[in-house]
Chain length 204, copies 4
DNA sequence: TATGAATGAGACTTCATTCAT
DNA sequence: TATGAATGAAGTCTCATTCAT
């Protein structure tokens, strides 16, 4: 979806490379200072090129935020999708998916924070795009739950799958958002174990 | 805790009055445009006084954000605390508290969003303050859970109370953050009913 | 028509005063360097206030150009209108009007140059406004010519009045635009005398 | 006079070819958007070569403007010079020259506008060059007028020839500059007819 | 001779904050 | 206590020009 953003540069591969570099440069700054507090100048410096060069690959500062958000989401999404492919029973897949998702979040805590805190600085269109991507992710859990229902290992009304899927997502993100509270009492592993139990008890 | 913020004005009562007005003026603007996109000029206009007057009651723009965040949190917090006072059994109190908290969130959706999205624009000290207040709120649920454990209506390890309390908070906030997804399938009442079931099943 | 331009300042009189100062500051710079070569910083410096203050009275750089163009046109226009009020015969009024207009141009050569060279840098709306004002000026000559026709001192088809009026305007402006060629052979007075003769011979 | 402009390229013919292409590319852009609003990138794109290649044939953006102005002037000038060669009486030649010049202007209205509006963006030296070329053109009319005087068909002081010649030029250019006013009432032919009458009446 | 990515100075504009009244 | 004009630093973005390939 990066093709949406115009560029002065003709070499498509170079655009990809440089945009990756820009994302890398920006993400740390955004995490540390937030989008608004980070200046384009700083990003260019971190990027290692001139401001002019930076602006050859994007059109506005907001484009950078979009690239960053898109990157984060794609990373998380891809990792989760990989992990879900499996031949096991629904309930096993669900446990694994929860575990994998929570671990991914744990490994990308800063990025998750960034993703959810700066979304509102995006244009409506970009926000919508992220929103859709988020829903896709949620539907992964929804699908697993539906399989569980079919296998009769989970006894909830079909209508509730979306809600439970969202619960899982949110409980996962909580590990990033409330880390300062949880850290004292839980490792990521014990967090996963405990939360999985609570979730499963609720739906079995 | 507003005393933290310096003011040119001597009359304490006047400070309180004016600051309430400032919060009222700012909150809608922040909700609509976000903190950074809102200018002090706009706030002053909405406030109905001059920029100079506005700056007699605060020291920086960030102070306004803090006042707003504090106000929102206090509102929610007070409402919840009121509702919890009761003579019923722990489990009844828990159900009521969940219901009340979720309803409060429903009635203050925009404010909740604001509270969690703009927090990072606050200074470290202010952020800490909000953080502590948030924890206080969480501990309300924790205490109820502990009472339930004592009454043996809830069978979870004592250690888990904090986690479950946080889960409740987060599931509640989810109603504000994912409203676009949930709105189609749930009213606030059916949301409360279903989520309460899931939560309770997990811990009983 | 200055009311079209927005301003942060509430005091209407102050707006007028400051805008006059801005016009004075800008006009010399524009004459010397042209609109595009003049920076807002230079204008602010000449204006004697900060850039921020400058932007309290206008919204864009182009606004300054508009103010300048409007000012020039109004100045010329007013002077000409004053001079035309008279009790003499049409032909006398015509001679006087030509003379006055040419003298006004002579006294505002730089401004005339500016007016006609930078017009295309204005927005369409502003250009239209100047265009209309220019036509008003032309119609002054047209009206005089019509009076002459009525008095039978000028024998041209009614239809031609507009053309002749435009000729007079253009011949007058020529004194500003081709000054380097004409200066060697003509003073403004001999220029007026000779051109008036040529024009009158053409229409009598 | 293009030799004034330096070039990296050795092949003189290639320089000429490419510069003609550059002029063709630039002139439409300048007409449409003005010199300052047109970027070198746009010119290169229209030119059909890279920016580097473009800069092999010029040294600065201003050089392009000069090439364009020179081209326009040369075009007009050549066409007029062609048309003047004749064996007729002075007065006939004069009428023809006026007619031809006005027709040329009519056919190159946009270019005339460009020529006179962007001149001030040229360097002093380039401006001078255009200025001299303009004078040459004027002197064509001057010479014809002198011939008329010699033939006693025109009765004006010798000194006035330059003035009248300039009048003719300016009245011609007026067709381009005031086209929106004149268009309703005149075709180019009726414009020529009427203006020629007025001019001749003035000098006979 | 041709390419086009890269440079970097500088342009316009905004806005939190102050201070004379 | 209240006003609002003024400040000026800082922000985003553009674009003529260069240079390695």
């Amino acid at each position: 979806m990066q093709d949406t953003i115009e560029s002065n540069i003709k070499d498509k591969d170079l655009i990809d490379t440089r945009r990756r570099e820009i994302v890398n440069a920006a993400v740390e700054l955004f995490v540390r200072k937030g989008f608004h507090q980070t200046t384009v100048r700083e990003i260019a410096r971190e990027f290692g090129m001139s401001m002019g060069a930076l602006y050859d690959y994007i059109r506005t500062k907001e484009d950078i935020l979009f690239l960053v958000c898109d990157h984060i989401h794609t990373t998380v999404s891809n990792k989760l999708k990989e992990s879900v492919v499996s031949e096991k029973t629904g309930i096993e897949i669900l446990k694994n998916a929860i575990s994998d998702y929570f671990i991914i979040i744990n490994e990308n805590q800063d990025y998750m924070l960034l993703l959810y805190q700066e979304t509102k600085s995006l244009s409506k269109a970009a926000r919508k795009y992220i929103f859709v991507a988020e829903n896709e992710l949620t539907s992964i859990f929804e699908d697993i739950l539906k399989q569980c229902i079919k296998e009769k290992t989970v006894r909830i009304n079909h209508r509730k799958t979306k809600l439970v899927a969202n619960n899982i997502m949110v409980i996962g993100q909580m590990w990033a958002f409330r880390r300062w509270v949880l850290r004292d009492n839980y490792s990521i592993n014990s967090y996963i174990k405990t939360q999985t139990e609570l979730i499963l008890k609720g739906i079995i």
